[in-house]
């Protein structure tokens, strides 16, 4: 990416006298051409060869003796790892990592196929758990994002299979994922991995809540613990990425509460025992605030607005209105902070949130009273007007730099 910019604009810089021709060449030398495009062809080739071998084996699988099948599985497993290591050492990192990832997939496939070979459909999770552990070990050994991603997915599959098919929640898997991958992410902060990690952990938290048959609002305790980890992370973009999924979940939940909260039946489904729930939530919030203070980001405390437990209020419409107020406060806060920080992406996000909230509020508060055609006409006008206002505001912020407004 950087090299491309240098190649296209470099001459121009030289002509303008910003850099000399010699400096341009030195800069170019800093960014050697990417070898990925060349590495892709052998990868595709080996993929095709592998697929054809796979189809030959699959077609004759039933005819092979047990020992041959086992030998085939283990042979391909070992050669995938050995091949991966060979290509890595020769400098072909992409192909090498691809083969090692293939080895991990083959390990899972070997466990499943061997179990089928011996008609074992056991109850214990050992086989799948071993798969996740192998993925974790490889992630740590190779420090690879691809393997991190695969391990997060495998752990999610293990937990899903365990709760869905075997009817048990594996705390070992959950804690292992959180500690193993969480510590990895903590040491090597990365935005993409933060999002993956948070999504994986939220998935397991949701499975746990479902398994325990407790009120679904308990979900937000582990979810906000994940969020809090993002507060303590010194690397800001990585921490923000980790906080994305919990915030999305909280926003959608609050939106749902605004839409359906006035039916006391739904709200009743959400009311966890008041004191323990609030105590847990406040404890996590304090932890989060301490982290924000430590890293000097107290401004993002407004995220916690979404966690206000409005569902404890009984009494229909007032609850919906109160929730809408919270949603407005949150999306308004996002917009305000985005303008202060002059962050274009956050302004877009805040605008979308604000408009969604307005649409919900309008739908909620007027659907019952208004003639339908008038409803749509006024709603459309309202949204047009709102988006025009917000865009004008954004344009003004970014045109006049260095004037921190509000």
């Amino acid at each position: 990416m950087s090299r491309k910019l240098l190649e296209t604009d470099g001459q121009d810089w030289v002509q303008r006298g910003i850099i000399t021709e010699q400096q341009r060449e030195q800069l170019l030398a800093l960014y050697p051409t990417d070898a990925t495009a060349i590495g892709l062809l052998p990868l595709l080739g080996s993929l095709l060869v592998g697929l054809s071998a796979l189809s030959v084996v699959a077609a004759n699988w039933q005819g092979l003796t047990e020992l041959v099948r086992l030998a085939l599985l283990l042979g391909s497993l070992c050669s995938a790892y050995a091949g991966g290591e060979y290509f890595r050492r020769r400098g072909n990192l992409n192909l090498g990592m691809g083969l090692i990832a293939l080895g991990l997939i083959l390990f899972g496939a070997s466990i499943v196929l061997t179990s089928q070979l011996y008609q074992l459909i056991g109850y214990d999770l050992t086989g799948l758990l071993a798969w996740a552990v192998a993925g974790m070990g490889l992630t740590w050994l190779y420090r690879s994002r691809l393997l991190f991603l695969m391990t997060a997915v495998i752990s999610g599959i293990v937990q899903g299979y365990n709760t869905g098919q075997l009817g048990a929640f594996s705390y070992l898997t959950a804690v292992g994922t959180a500690l193993g991958l969480g510590y990895y992410w903590w040491r090597r902060p990365d935005a993409l991995l933060g999002g993956v990690l948070a999504t994986g952990l939220l998935w397991q938290a949701a499975l746990l809540i479902n398994f325990l048959h407790v009120k679904i609002t308990w979900f937000f305790i582990p979810a906000m613990l994940v969020y809090t980890l993002g507060d303590w992370q010194p690397d800001r973009p990585a921490g923000r990425a980790l906080q994305g999924p919990p915030l999305v979940a909280a926003f959608l939940f609050t939106l749902g509460l605004a839409l359906f909260g006035e039916s006391d039946f739904y709200a009743g489904q959400l009311r966890a025992p008041l004191v323990p729930y609030l105590a847990a939530l406040v404890a996590v919030a304090v932890l989060s605030a301490a982290g924000k203070r430590q890293r000097g980001r107290l401004g993002s405390l407004t995220d916690w607005l979404l966690l206000l437990p409005g569902f404890y209020f009984t009494g229909g419409l007032p609850l919906a209105v109160a929730t809408l107020v919270v949603l407005y406060a949150y999306s308004g806060a996002v917009l305000l902070r985005a303008h202060q920080e002059q962050n274009q992406d956050r302004v877009t996000l805040g605008t979308v949130l604000f408009i969604v909230t307005t649409a919900v509020a309008y739908f909620k508060l007027t659907w019952g009273f208004m003639d339908k055609s008038l409803f749509f006409l006024l709603g459309g006008l309202l949204l047009f007007g709102l988006s025009w206002l917000l865009r004008r505001r954004a344009a003004r912020t970014f045109s006049g730099p260095s004037t921190p407004q509000q």
Partner: protein
């Protein structure tokens, strides 16, 4: 954004020697694990106690992996009166089913226990888990409900008719199907 991508894969193809040794251990452990699964399957058949159960096939065919049949055993649905626990059975609870031989050679359930019960020489115990509970009975699952059929046999299984299944229960509780008898009468 770009530093993330470049830092993900360090531009250093070699990993240090101690780590390479870890890698060898990790691959060896994976191979051993798969071999272990095979040995467990083999040992369950070789060392376990064999017994026959009555069952019938439901909807054969698998898209990915040749043929298998889903089997519904007589011991999959049992009357609630057989439950021997102090508290009523809950969904997804472990359950130990005591099996006693019938005159025709198959085994039938004589009790469902929340803990492993003691047996006399004739009886056997199969571990399962409670799937559903209703007023009159419970549905259990044993992990024996699927049989991967050799290709030659699948055509004979296509009709829904009763079968006898030979299973082997290892002393450590693991159970697996050994074979199918398609000539059984009701």
């Amino acid at each position: 954004m770009t530093p993330d991508v470049s830092s993900s894969i360090p531009p250093r193809p070699d990993i240090p020697a101690p780590r390479r040794r870890w890698l060898q251990w990790l691959v060896a452990a994976q191979v051993l694990f798969v071999v272990g699964v095979a040995v467990a399957g083999y040992a369950t058949a070789a060392l376990g106690r064999t017994l026959w159960l009555s069952t019938q096939p439901v909807d054969p065919r698998d898209l990915l992996y040749g043929d298998y049949v889903n089997l519904r055993y007589q011991i999959n649905e049992l009357p609630g009166g057989l439950w021997r626990g102090n508290t009523p059975p809950r969904r997804q609870q472990a359950a130990y089913v005591l099996l006693a031989p019938r005159p025709d050679g198959t085994f039938e359930a004589t009790g469902i226990f929340p803990e492993r019960p003691a047996t006399n020489g004739q009886e056997a115990v199969l571990r399962g888990s409670v799937q559903t509970v209703w007023r009159r009975g419970v549905r259990l699952r044993y992990g024996l409900e699927r049989y991967y059929v050799p290709e030659t046999m699948s055509r004979r299984l296509s009709q829904r008719r009763p079968l006898r299944v030979q299973i082997s229960v290892a002393p450590w509780g693991q159970a697996r199907i050994i074979g199918l008898d398609t000539t059984a009468r009701q």
